[in-house]
């Protein structure tokens, strides 16, 4: 009996050892990747923000200087410029529109689909279609419709020269872009909301209906509290989006188009980072170098991160609960 006991202990010990070995070996590459491409990367991005790279005179290599807050000063100059204010304004309008129009419509749509009303299967597929066809293709097709097709049709009514909606006035450009972003913006929201809403307890809905609630009350008092944690995630991610969302502008205008009349931070960051002529070395204004861009990113992160964290906490604290 005792021998069996020690045998068993030995076996368990062996299992524990092999579990430990597996755990370490499988985690190791992931941890190393994380240490390099998250921890070190963010660290080096911070360091970069304090540096200045100068090309050596002989053309080989460069000298790195520590310039304290010089890059931050440049970044602040930019942040307080009229241009950055306009970029922020555009993003805030998009965020507000997303919050008010897209989110509420997405909630209505998800409710409709989760309750399996008429044609809900078809609607669900179509709402997700822009994601499948890709934002890029939708943007390109949309561009042709508001430019070439619009000009083609408008020219038959007037003899004047007609400009496409993405190239005429600043207001019409912005409005056209805003409408596009609303138009293709439902897919992910509706998919996740519907998924959560479908898991609802039928008897809860039934008992509410016995009390005579209507659809809107049902949505407000039962479904929204249920998906509230997911809703928080979308609203909070959207706040980060104020500085990262490109509004498909790179697809519409690319690296050079339209003199950047309509601009947002996401587009601005991507454009400059992708631009082959922008690099580590100081640039002729209005272009920036990588260190200056990193400083700008760091400042924005320091502004956005606390705001999103506080919003999340507040929403969790004062939100509805499922009772």
């Amino acid at each position: 009996m005792e021998i069996v006991g020690t045998e068993k202990k030995k076996k368990m010990g062996k299992i524990h050892a092999s579990r430990m070995k597996f755990y370490v070996l499988m985690f190791l590459p992931l941890i190393i990747q994380f240490l390099i491409f998250y921890v070190y990367l963010n660290f080096s991005s911070i360091v970069l923000a304090f540096q200045k790279y100068t090309k050596n005179i002989n053309g080989l290599g460069h000298t790195v200087d520590f310039v304290w807050f010089k890059n931050f000063a440049t970044a602040f100059d930019f942040l307080f410029s009229a241009r950055a204010g306009e970029m922020l304004g555009n993003s805030l309008i998009l965020y507000a529109v997303n919050l008010i129009i897209v989110t509420s419509l997405a909630l209505f749509f998800s409710y409709y689909i989760a309750k399996k009303y008429m044609l809900s299967g078809l609607f669900r597929v179509i709402l997700y279609l822009p994601t499948i066809v890709s934002g890029t293709v939708m943007a390109i097709l949309y561009q042709y419709i508001v430019t070439d097709v619009y000009i083609g049709i408008a020219s038959t009514f007037t003899d004047e020269v007609v400009l496409g909606l993405l190239d005429s006035s600043k207001t019409s450009e912005f409005l056209t872009i805003l409408i596009f972003n609303v138009w293709v913006g439902f897919g992910a929201n509706v998919m996740i909301y519907t998924g959560t809403m479908s898991g609802i307890n039928e008897s809860l809905v039934e008992s509410a209906q016995l009390e005579g609630v209507n659809s809107l009350q049902e949505l407000w008092y039962i479904y929204i509290p249920l998906i509230y944690p997911t809703l928080i995630t979308f609203i909070v991610t959207g706040m980060t989006g104020i500085f990262t969302n490109q509004m498909s502008l790179f697809t519409f205008y690319g690296q050079t188009g339209s003199n950047f009349e309509v601009d947002v931070f996401g587009y601005y960051f991507y454009r400059l980072t992708q631009d082959a002529s922008v690099n580590l070395y100081p640039q002729a204004k209005p272009m920036y170098s990588y260190p200056e861009l990193s400083a700008l990113g760091l400042i924005i992160t320091l502004i956005v991160a606390p705001i999103t964290l506080i919003t999340r906490k507040l929403m969790e604290k004062y939100g509805p609960s499922v009772d």
Partner: protein, 317 residues
């Protein structure tokens, strides 16, 4: 049961309104796609000079081209020249040669590699991390879970330049190795999807297999992977479609491996060059269709899997 369900579904003014809005929305999406399909079959003369922007192809003018000529032109003539990859790396002295010509099939090849690497490597990494955190009750697992939660919540903006510098210094800029390593990250939403799923798996299979003497690798590949195949498939499919359509990441980190999505973007942004082989709008729309149709087909075949409920579980600690 069905009686209850029907009773739960009252048709009233509110639901009719939503139905109408959804119907109008659907019409707008579908009509744009149908317009694109029709336009891709037109002759450029038909669309441009004759101003037939909305109608069906006019056979009188489009006779030669209506038979998929726009598509064949892209297959045979469309090439792009990579131009962004010049860089002299300080640590490894590696020079990426700019100005390579990539034809249509090169683009398809790059796209498949990119989409497969992104979807499989990233899904696998998040799955392994989810499994290790959910089923190995070491203190480190809890630490990793909280860490990944924090990473997901805290937004970090503007690390693009630092990533480029790091990739270049490691000699990984615009390489397949770089692509794989960048995607081996276990941060992000899918970790929580797997974690929630693995938490719900019963331990009995694993314990039984362990007592029978199966190795941990066998348990992972013979038990865990098959048990989570449905969710794995969903994540891989969504990631595959996402990366198939993504042109911005390849453009930034792997510029000398341009993908089809980049090709289509490039095509639509290089319209001023009249000598360009595929500069007509009808050809560019055909390009869009070439990019979109495989994914629409894949989506149609797998829509139940893709739209199946991906749940993050309770994300509260």
């Amino acid at each position: 049961m069905s009686k209850i369900k029907r009773k739960n579904r009252k048709i009233n003014f509110f639901t009719i309104c939503i139905c109408v809005i959804l119907a109008l929305y659907s019409v707008s999406i579908i009509s744009v796609l149908i317009w694109a399909l029709i336009t891709s079959l037109k002759a450029s003369v038909d669309f441009g000079i004759l101003g037939n922007v909305l109608g069906f192809p006019d056979l009188k003018y489009s006779a030669d081209e209506v038979r998929l000529a726009n598509y064949f032109r892209i297959f045979s003539k469309f090439t792009i020249v990579t131009g962004n990859a010049t860089y002299f790396s300080d640590l490894f002295g590696r020079i990426v040669i700019p100005g390579q010509r990539v034809d249509f099939f090169g683009l398809i090849f790059n796209t498949i590699i990119y989409a497969v690497v992104c979807s499989f490597v990233h899904s696998f990494a998040t799955m392994v991390a989810g499994y290790l955190c959910a089923k190995f009750k070491y203190k480190f697992s809890g630490f990793v879970y909280n860490l990944l939660l924090i990473v997901m919540i805290i937004p970090i903006i503007g690390t693009g330049p630092a990533t480029l510098v790091l990739l270049r210094n490691l000699g990984l800029y615009s390489t397949y190795a770089g692509m794989i390593i960048l995607n081996l990250n276990c941060t992000g939403m899918y970790f929580f999807v797997y974690y929630a799923f693995m938490k719900g798996l019963s331990d009995t299979y694993i314990e039984a297999a362990e007592i029978d003497g199966a190795s941990q690798l066998t348990i992972f590949f013979k038990i865990i992977v098959p048990l989570s195949s449905k969710i794995l498939f969903t994540v891989v499919l969504i990631a595959f479609i996402g990366s198939w359509n993504d042109y911005q990441t390849p453009l930034l980190y792997y510029p000398d491996k341009p993908t089809l999505a980049y090709g289509i973007y490039y095509m639509s942004n290089n319209t001023s060059d009249a000598t360009y082989e595929t500069s007509q709008l009808t050809q560019r729309v055909a390009g869009c269709m070439i990019l979109a149709l495989p994914m629409v087909l894949l989506f149609t075949l797998c829509q139940d899997i893709i739209l199946g409920n991906l749940s993050m579980g309770g994300l509260k600690e």
